[in-house]
Symmetry: C2
């Protein structure tokens, strides 16, 4: 991501403490110390930073995955952790409507870490997403952490899709049903053998998520006004989009993945589907169809009142997922 955003959350780890005065307060502290961007650039605060370049725009983002926080190595392999780390950063590039150009990988961990296995997962994710690993760094540390930074690019117009562009009346879509990763984690935690193709698909959604790069590019080209990836759960991420845009939202329905629950879909995170706000739904549907992409699913509309946040007419819980971090907030 281009900002210490909510993405810095316990991906795939149900029940981690959410903290008060945690991560977001810490982010505010960083932002206060830093100068703001020049016109035409976006630094802290979106899925990725946006920088101008002679060819259009560059985006830059980083994600860090920590063993035991972002992936339980009793449930998934080191290769899965590597896959997830790269995919999470690539998903931030997708959420801007950009194309990944290359990734660098900083690994810190115990000397007996099976780097070969970790690298195999990273390399597989790099190939699957068309995002080559172009460099890296290694250090010893007591606990394994994998930080991935991804550079992306956008040629021409329209430019990167920010979180902040949604307007009242915009229609909200999501690129796929939600909750699979959370349901898959639950299946892994249950420790039973996979119970058939659906169950295997859920587990795979947790172990090997895919960033929606083609969908993100198509949404940008179709004139999307705002976009965010669902890394922290729909309510949290849609909340970020609504906060940044100064709008509320009225959801009619949330598409739930087969085998997942509505709670998984609303709060589970790690799905890496994209939420898109558009003024012209027809253009979005038409371009997705023309490119052979899975049709985006309508969820509802943006509301002019930022306080309105409803699902089927009822207020939704405002829960997000945060790390406990840093000192307690003042006052």
């Amino acid at each position: 991501m281009g900002a210490p955003k909510s993405g810095a959350t316990p991906r795939g780890r149900a029940g981690t403490a959410r903290g008060i005065g945690g991560e977001f307060a810490a982010i505010d502290r960083l932002a206060r110390l830093l100068p703001g961007p020049p016109p035409g650039e976006v630094w802290l605060g979106d899925d990725a930073a946006v920088l101008r370049s002679p060819g259009g725009q560059l985006v830059l983002t980083t994600d860090v995955a920590v063993a035991g926080v972002h992936g339980d190595l009793a449930l998934i392999g080191l290769d899965d952790l590597g896959w997830r780390a790269l995919s999470a950063a690539v998903s931030d590039v997708a959420a801007m409507g950009a194309r990944p150009r290359g990734a660098v990988l900083a690994v810190a961990g115990p000397p007996d870490t099976d780097l070969e296995l970790l690298y195999r997962g990273v390399a597989a994710a790099a190939e699957a997403h068309g995002c080559p690993v172009v460099g890296g760094d290694l250090s010893t540390a007591g606990q394994l952490s994998v930080a991935v930074a991804v550079l992306g690019e956008i040629d021409g117009t329209p430019g990167a899709v920010l979180r902040s562009g949604a307007r009242p009346g915009d229609q909200l879509f999501v690129t796929g049903p939600l909750g699979a990763a959370a349901a898959g984690l639950r299946a892994l935690l249950a420790g039973q053998p996979a119970g058939g193709p659906d169950d295997e698909a859920l587990r795979r959604a947790h172990r090997r998520p895919r960033a929606r790069l083609l969908e993100g590019e198509a949404a940008r080209e179709a004139g999307a006004r705002a976009m965010v990836d669902v890394s922290d759960g729909l309510l949290a991420d849609l909340g970020h989009l609504a906060d940044a845009s100064g709008v509320g939202f009225r959801l009619d329905a949330v598409p739930v993945h087969p085998g997942a629950s509505l709670d998984d879909a609303l709060g589970g995170g790690d799905d890496y589907e994209l939420v898109v706000a558009v003024a012209d739904a027809g253009a979005l549907l038409e371009l997705f169809a023309r490119r052979g992409l899975r049709p985006p699913l309508a969820m509802g509309t943006c509301d002019g009142d930022p306080a309105v946040r409803t699902l089927a007419g009822r207020p939704v819980p405002s829960a997000g997922w945060e790390h406990p971090w840093g000192p307690a907030p003042e006052g």
Copy 2:
């Protein structure tokens, strides 16, 4: 760096085990799993990766600093650790002759980490190097690690200066005297109050190193054939340049910083001066003078025989600094 190179070493930590079959073997394992770059690009293996762009070239690099490995928090502050983490990555950009465009910061650490202090050091280094922090990520972890990725750019020609371009007969320069950071660490370890301005300068060299950005750009524009930053110690880094270029070297003299020893200069690391190989020393000296930069210091020449590595006619020790990492090498 653009590669898991020797930079992944115990910066500022004297006496850390060097390991056998350690980091370099691990790097080879990663490189074997990854596809190679297209013509005109450099991925793994240099200070930073080089990517083509419409405006010229982009460089991308990452460095990770781990508390207790790359900086002892009993000796330096969290702000110093933050400064060092950013500066180390920016130095890799300098070593390509590029200009930094922006950095992203991935921090993993204990919840009680004083993020404000860490960020202050990062922000100060960002300002000092003209490299804005444009994004980041945060996670809890048992041990503090700070991964910084830096994007740099080169407009026009000549392109990025690689490690591999040195040729027999090229003259070797360094942008400043060496060993200050190692001597400063020793002074800090001794635990005595600073003994005057020289001593304070040494300690500052360890706590607050500066990347040689202007020097790197000037060297590139003056036609440098190969360049590397001294992050691991002169012998290790010059060795990387010589290995990559397929040359040896004959050093006449090594400039030692006041208060430092020759051993500090040869093996101490963390100085972040640049080693430059040039065919035309006059152009280098002239451009540095024209820009008001400290004159680069002549050290010797490149030799056609890769086995020749001497200082004042005597073979130099081939020691580098490596982390112990990964399983023992096969065979």
